[in-house]
């Protein structure tokens, strides 16, 4: 093998073994029977008789997911929550990314640091902070009550509202950074030209900036939407017992019910749902870096 080959072989083999092969095993186990053993599933291949190897594919796990409405509702709810969180992230994140891209170089670096810093601090701890802010005797209620705005504490924690706040808060930097990287390359003279030709500022934004930042918007949105669909920590901590999210369902099937085959089937369905978005993300990324060169 050439020297070049060796350079990429190591990461290639690593990812193949620890990232791709595991999905094959998940697929396999999603077709096996639950068993009261360690590990808790039955083998797919079985020797029946001396020379006969039987493959037993069990579709029950999938059938189960489609008959019990809990799973379909969880899938639907996850997509809904991830979608609206992405939209909210865009509404908050776009003006911020735009502001950073148009700031003077020194201010820009400070603002970028301020956006990156929370991203480096533990997600778990930042989600935990919202419990302290939103609970019944938490900071928000205390402040509002002492100001006399409200008389009884608002119920915020363990509601869908809390879950949205948590997701938008945690994923906001993931949207701002690729969007900023895109806007930073923008030729702002185009805007001046449009205004010289009689465009109003909002019109110029709508007709020039927005379409040109399309790839940044898409890349940032995917970085929010895809992981948010399978999010576990935020619904578990902020959403309360009724927050039905598919990542949490998978977790409970695995840890609480020890139903590994059902958890695997949930994972496979999630992958079928999300892989098209991942491929879309990759093609957007490829276009972005081709444009940069």
């Amino acid at each position: 093998m050439s020297g070049r080959g060796l350079v990429v072989a190591l990461p290639f083999v690593w990812l193949l073994l620890f990232f791709v092969v595991p999905f094959v095993i998940v697929l396999k186990i999603s077709f096996s029977d639950v068993d009261l053993a360690i590990p808790p599933y039955k083998p797919l291949l079985d020797w029946v008789g001396k020379h006969t190897l039987a493959i037993k594919l069990n579709f029950d796990n999938y059938a189960f997911l489609f008959t019990d409405s809990l799973y379909l509702r969880a899938f639907w709810n996850s997509i809904k929550v991830a979608f609206f969180s992405t939209v909210l992230c865009l509404c908050i994140g776009y003006p911020m990314a735009y502001g950073i891209a148009r700031a003077r170089p020194h201010t820009r670096n400070v603002l970028l640091l301020l956006v990156i810093l929370p991203f480096w601090t533990s997600l778990l701890l930042r989600v935990y902070a919202w419990i302290g802010l939103m609970k019944a005797n938490g900071v928000i209620n205390n402040v509002l009550m002492s100001l006399g705005v409200i008389h009884d504490p608002l119920t915020m924690l363990y509601t869908p509202f809390a879950m949205y706040v948590g997701i938008v808060y945690s994923y906001l930097p993931f949207l701002i950074l690729p969007l900023y990287a895109n806007l930073e390359k923008m030729d702002w003279q185009l805007l001046e030209a449009a205004q010289d030709l009689g465009c109003r500022p909002w019109q110029a934004f709508y007709k020039i900036t927005l379409p040109l930042s399309r790839n940044g918007i898409l890349a940032g949105s995917m970085l929010v939407f895809i992981p948010a669909t399978g999010e576990f920590v935020i619904p578990a901590l902020l959403g309360g017992p009724n927050a039905l999210m598919i990542g949490r369902v998978l977790w409970d099937e695995f840890f609480a019910n020890r139903a590994w085959p059902v958890a695997s089937a949930v994972a496979i369905l999630m992958l079928i749902l999300l892989v098209p978005f991942m491929m879309w993300y990759q093609s957007v990324q490829a276009r972005e870096s081709a444009g940069a060169r």
């Binding site: 990429v8 990232f19 003006p95 701890l125 902070a129 205390n142 909002w202 576990f232 994972a267 999630m270």
Partner: protein, 272 residues
């Protein structure tokens, strides 16, 4: 920008930053609160350092922190090696068999929901143990392998984008003068992309240090990491010690980021 638009952007920016920082600031403030009720300020006895002492005497948290530190250190080093090779290969070799696959395999972990990665890794480890007897049981080794798999993807992105922006003429000149490719890499390429590698190492360390989901799937008995202990505590309600832990984390992270930024800025000046 015209006046009205810049006011709009300025307002959004301030509100957005307030949204990002109010939770963090509230944890810092309440870490000095004497009351066990965490969010009710006990003005008579605060500020106090008592929860700081409590945290430093909490064996469970200290043990978990030690395990997390070990995993994060090995992970960051391994992820930097794998990620630098992948990022270098993707940036410099425009055509090779498996380029598309390698690209896809280094992009997918960035967005893959962690519950899926965690579950699939655990099932792999179980199957491998049945087949070849390794890894025997789960613990630090399996957690580290899991962390390396997703954090190397981040290192790849950082190294790849740094490689894309630097001048290949330097490498070519060294080759023209007779340096072998390996020597060029270590004498020219590596020093130039060093800031990127350093950020990659720190990011990989942080990702591992903070990870809850993949650790939970791939850990074994007796190897609870810090996030796992924090998660089980937080599920039972707020605790003043967690505020202290958060404050310490934020302090260290801020110092590290400012330090690296300063280092990179200085390296940039030397380049010019």
């Amino acid at each position: 920008m015209n006046q009205r638009m810049s006011y709009f952007v300025l307002t959004c920016m301030s509100l957005g930053l307030a949204f990002l920082y109010i939770p963090i600031l509230s944890m810092i403030v309440f870490s000095f609160n004497a009351s066990k009720l965490v969010t009710v300020w006990d003005g008579a006895n605060s500020p106090t350092l008592k929860w700081y002492y409590a945290l430093l005497g909490n064996e469970e948290i200290l043990d978990a922190a030690w395990i997390s530190a070990k995993v994060a250190l090995i992970n960051a080093t391994g992820a930097v090696i794998l990620g630098t090779l992948a990022g270098f290969g993707l940036a410099r070799f425009s055509r090779f068999r498996g380029r598309f696959t390698l690209n896809a395999m280094t992009t997918a972990p960035l967005v893959m929901p962690e519950v899926i990665t965690g579950l699939s890794l655990l099932l792999l480890f179980v199957a491998m143990e049945q087949l070849i007897g390794w890894p025997a049981g789960r613990g630090i080794t399996t957690m580290t392998i899991g962390h390396m798999t997703f954090s190397m993807a981040y290192v790849t992105v950082i190294v790849n984008s740094r490689m894309a922006t630097f001048d290949t003429a330097l490498e070519e000149a060294a080759m023209d003068l007779g340096a072998r490719p390996v020597k060029v890499f270590f004498l020219i390429t590596l020093p130039i992309i060093f800031p990127a590698i350093l950020s990659g190492w720190l990011l990989a360390f942080t990702l591992s240090w903070d990870d809850l989901v993949i650790s939970s799937f791939t850990s074994g008995p007796g190897t609870s990491t810090l996030p796992m202990v924090v998660f089980s505590k937080v599920r039972l309600g707020v605790s003043p010690e967690i505020n202290v832990l958060a404050t310490l984390t934020i302090t260290v992270v801020t110092a590290a980021i400012l330090g690296v930024n300063w280092f990179i800025a200085r390296a940039g000046k030397l380049d010019a």
